[in-house]
């Protein structure tokens, strides 16, 4: 065995605290080490060439690089040694940067520690064996979970490139949050006008299948070969027959809260969320339906011209195979009512959320685009009143640690500016419009100019400060919402008697995001946003190979960012699926079956269901790990009481040798 040791300076990252040259020289005394060298930047082209040169000239059979974290450059150096003809798994990395130089400042002690880390790696590399990756065929179909603008964009990009895409959407229509918006900033173009053609494109694309009113039930398998169970929720309407004529909706006698319009209006127990819905199909909300709740009615069945109503319909399950999965589950509006008791907890009718106001501004919304005070709606013989003074409050559920939301929702400054402008154009330029803000964040293209227009052209009064309290009062015989806040620029208290208050409610993760993340084995943060593999270099990948992210499920995003990311995600998926076969890591677990005692603890603990009970010739059962399913996490290895499972590349012998090297020296 001929081991080569290469110690990196990493500029001064390592050499500033560790004597890289010194430990390289000392390593020459270690058993089997025939070559040592210190390099300024080992990962650079000259550094990698030096390793390859030494392998060839000195006939090295094992290589140790003492440098940064294997997370950073293990793959790089594996490729380097492979380039010089050595098996890439006969390479070991000693982390003397993150584990040593960066966290210590005593030069002498840090150098000693770095040498010990290096010695352990040399001990381990002696035990390594050549490993050869396996190849598995790749399924080229893609699952997109969520049919908002991000999901639609990814699906269209992938479908245009020739891949078959399935969009699973849990609502009865695709469109997501964008379908509920009125106009979009900073161009004030109609949200539906730009989105609905895309929805139709997706529906008509020969490579896209839209599975609306469906949810992902179970995910098994691994990159290139996922098996997904999808639950088709019972709509109580046969969607093959339904023609979306809406006669049932018109005739249905049972009212139900209108979720699409954020509770500003009522819909029927049988409903189609909005006129441009794709697919345009009706569904019955069982909890509001008279037939299901009281056992009589069936009006919809009588009036349906297509005979599509089916009260007996049950949930159905379908199983599909995919090579990659894109998460595009979007967002929910922060439930401010549960947190902001000083804003009335949702009990003041003239205090509404930004999304509610969005619906109110919309021509197809519950007020047909008329801005009105909700407190004056629905009173007999009286027209709803237009507000004369409108107050916007920003950062409700964003940048507020008192409600556990320290992050910026990134879209509220802009949508507030847009809504302020639209208020002036809908109600009149003489409307008093105030915006209470902390900072204005307008970093996108044309955004700052847009906010400036709101302030100058539209004379929206921006007040820098938080609102401490909202309460109702009657002033001169009319009902007002008193907005009590502070103007921190003037350093004084302000009080505004408003007719309507719009809260720029922040963004939170979509309901159900966390259980879904658990089904897919992907990470998420404390608010339920999915975590990317690397914030800068792998922003659309997750840590589970083959699962990608698009849109606001990752973090709050506006439409341009979500769409741009969705196309980026599509590119990554295409890159993955451009190959016919995928190499799987050979660093996986293997069972020594003659020592297995069939206690099934490995079966129980494996997060990927890789160990299976395999029948032996004598009729007994032993554990068997399916190579392609195993991700090499090592939980089974640690769990196996008889130690009969080995993780290739991390054998017990190698680890014991490492420890002994440290303790016995």
């Amino acid at each position: 065995m001929r081991i080569g040791v290469f110690v990196c300076h990493c500029g001064t990252n390592i050499a500033g605290t560790v004597d890289s040259r010194g430990i390289a020289a000392r390593a020459a005394e270690l058993k089997d080490v025939v070559h040592t060298e210190d390099l300024i930047y080992t990962c650079s082209e000259p550094g990698q060439s030096a390793i390859q040169k030494a392998i060839i000239e000195k006939g090295l059979t094992r290589v140790v690089v003492a440098a940064c974290s294997p997370h950073m450059h293990e793959v790089t150096f594996r490729r380097t040694v492979e380039g010089a003809g050595l098996n890439p798994y006969l390479f070991e990395m000693a982390n003397i940067r993150e584990h040593c130089s960066w966290i210590h400042d005593d030069y002498g002690l840090a150098t000693e520690k770095a040498y010990e880390i290096l010695k352990m790696s040399v001990a381990k590399v002696r035990q390594l064996e050549a490993l050869v990756p396996n190849e598995v065929p790749v399924n080229k179909d893609v699952l997109v979970i969520g049919g908002g603008v991000a999901g639609i964009q990814t699906a269209l990009d992938l479908a245009d490139a020739g891949l078959k895409v399935t969009i699973v959407e849990r609502e009865t229509t695709i469109g997501g949050t964008m379908a509920r918006l009125d106009k979009t900033f900073p161009t004030i173009d109609c949200s539906a006008c730009i989105l609905t053609p895309r929805m139709v494109d997706a529906a008509q694309h020969e490579n896209i299948e839209i599975m609306a009113y469906c949810e992902v039930d179970k995910v098994q398998g691994y990159v290139g070969n996922f098996t997904v169970d999808i639950r088709k929720k019972a709509a109580m309407v046969d969607w093959v027959k339904c023609i979306g004529c809406e006669i049932c909706v018109q005739k249905c006698p049972a009212k139900a809260p209108d979720v699409f319009n954020v509770g500003l209006a009522e819909t029927k127990a049988i409903y189609i969320p909005f006129p441009q819905a794709v697919p345009k199909r009706a569904a019955i909300q069982v909890e509001h339906c008279r037939w299901f709740q009281q056992g009589k009615c069936k009006v919809c069945e009588r009036v349906c011209p297509a005979d599509a109503i089916d009260f007996e319909q049950q949930d159905e399950y379908v199983q599909k195979e995919f090579g990659a999965i894109v998460m595009a589950t979007g967002l929910d509006v922060f439930p401010w009512e549960n947190h902001y008791h000083e804003y009335g907890s949702g009990n003041i009718p003239d205090v509404i959320s930004g999304l509610q106001y969005e619906r109110m501004l919309n021509a197809s919304g519950p007020t047909s685009g008329h801005v009105v005070r909700p407190s004056t709606q629905g009173i007999k013989g009286q027209e709803p009143e237009e507000p004369k003074t409108v107050v916007f409050i920003q950062c409700v559920g964003s940048r507020d640690e008192s409600v556990g939301r320290p992050y910026c929702s990134s879209v509220c400054c802009m949508y507030t500016a847009k809504q302020a402008i639209l208020t002036k154009s809908h109600v009149g330029m003489d409307t008093e419009v105030y915006v209470f803000y902390i900072d204005i964040r307008a970093t996108g293209k044309g955004y700052e100019e847009f906010v400036k227009r709101a302030q100058t052209e539209f004379n929206v009064k921006y007040v820098r400060g938080r609102v401490s309290k909202l309460y109702e009062d009657v002033i001169d015989g009319s009902r007002k919402v008193i907005v009590r806040g502070v103007d921190t620029l003037l350093g004084k208290q302000v009080e505004v008697a408003a007719d309507l208050v719009v809260l720029a409610s922040g963004i939170t993760s979509a309901e159900g995001a966390i259980p879904l993340a658990q089904k897919l084995n992907i990470s998420y943060d404390e608010w339920g946003f999915f975590k990317e593999s690397h914030p800068k270099l792998r922003p659309v990948e997750t840590n589970t190979a083959g699962v990608f992210l698009a849109g606001a499920c990752q973090s709050p995003k506006d439409i341009p960012t979500a769409v741009a990311q969705a196309s980026g995600t599509a590119a990554k998926v295409l890159g993955l699926l451009s190959r016919d076969k995928l190499k799987t890591s050979p660093q996986i677990a293997i069972v020594e079956q003659n020592r297995c005692v069939s206690c099934w603890k490995c079966v129980e603990v494996c997060p990927f269901s890789a160990p299976q009970k395999q029948e032996q010739r004598d009729g007994t059962f032993k554990s068997h790990i399916i190579e392609t399913v195993c991700q090499g996490c090592g939980i089974c290895v640690a769990t196996c009481p008889v130690n009969c499972i080995t993780l290739k590349g991390f054998t017990t012998d190698a680890i014991i040798d490492q420890i002994e090297e440290l303790l016995l020296a």
Partner: protein
């Protein structure tokens, strides 16, 4: 007591006569009448050797895990006390025993006698122990005889027992004995151990484990220790536990055992009773049980629907708080 014995014989005889089991495991009198030993009864006319008295301490479920595969399809009847039933449940939770192939006779238990404690009261060998109500009468080879209150001679485990009635049985040998209303475990000597300083704990463990001769009686007696001949303690490559018999290696061996049965061991005490050099193994096992209870509220072998604590993962598990 004798009515439980009679009922055990009756149930065993019926199961054997009706060919519901191939053999029945219970207790019988040993060669020395002062002790009980496990009995394997293969026909209905042999059931009269079965006994039940406070000497019937063996946890017979250990034979299930060992006998189960050999013969492979044997149907086995077995007697269980409260604590034994919990080890059986632990085995069933992991499918290490086939529920369809066992017939379980549950015996409500009032506590079993620590024979060693009795022996320590005499200089001579105890050759007979008899019972009358709560009075234990022991007689030595020389004919010395003393009477003791039964409560003074029962195992520590029995004194803190919270499950005197079997939690799982097909038939019961008697009506359940009164159970404690509060099932909160009592830890007794473990709390004393925990109060020691690290140095004192070290000393106590070193003292306790110094005498281990690695006879492996403990792991053979243990029903939930299931690795048979593949035990890592005897594995030479990799040598996780050293061959050398000294305090550290002994402790390592027992620590490995403790972790392997953690979440599955209800501390029935079979290992303690099997140890020929009287190592207080409960120190390890009950301590682990206390940790599991304090951290997760988990008690091993109580419910068939549960999985052993170390084989489940819940998001709200208090990870790292201890």
């Amino acid at each position: 007591m004798s009515d439980r014995q009679a009922k055990i014989r009756e149930l065993a005889a019926a199961a054997l006569a009706e060919d519901r089991v191939d053999y029945f495991i219970g207790w019988k009198q040993g060669i020395n009448p002062s002790e009980a030993i496990p009995a394997f009864v293969r026909s209905a006319d042999e059931v009269d050797q079965l006994i039940w008295n406070p000497l019937s301490h063996h946890n017979l479920t250990t034979f299930l895990k060992r006998k189960m595969p050999d013969p492979p399809n044997a149907r086995i009847g077995v007697c269980v006390k409260g604590c034994d039933s919990r080890t059986l449940v632990a085995l069933l939770q992991e499918e290490l025993v086939d529920k369809e192939r066992i017939y379980v006779v549950g015996v409500p238990c009032d506590g079993v006698i620590d024979r060693r404690r009795v022996e320590k009261e005499f200089a001579d060998e105890v050759v007979d122990i008899s019972f009358s109500g709560d009075v234990v009468t022991a007689t030595t080879r020389c004919g010395d005889s003393k009477e003791f209150a039964k409560g003074d001679m029962t195992f520590d485990h029995c004194n803190t027992c919270r499950y005197p009635n079997p939690v799982y049985a097909d038939d019961m040998a008697a009506d359940p004995v009164p159970e404690p209303e509060d099932r909160t475990p009592m830890w007794g000597s473990i709390e004393e151990f925990e109060a020691l300083s690290p140095a004192e704990k070290d000393a106590k463990l070193a003292d306790a484990f110094e005498t281990c001769i690695r006879c492996f009686a403990c792991i053979h007696a243990c029903p939930v220790c299931v690795c048979w001949d593949q035990c890592v303690n005897r594995c030479r490559r990799p040598a996780l536990v050293g061959q050398r018999v000294d305090t550290k290696e002994n402790l390592m061996f027992q620590m490995v055992h403790m972790f392997h049965v953690a979440g599955r061991c209800p501390s029935c005490g079979a290992c303690d009773r099997a140890c020929p050099v009287e190592i207080p193994l409960y120190l390890l096992h009950r301590k682990m049980n206390k940790e599991l209870y304090d951290m997760l509220g988990f008690e091993p072998g109580v419910s068939l629907e549960e999985k052993p604590a170390f084989q489940t993962f819940k998001l709200d598990d208090p990870f790292g708080e201890h």
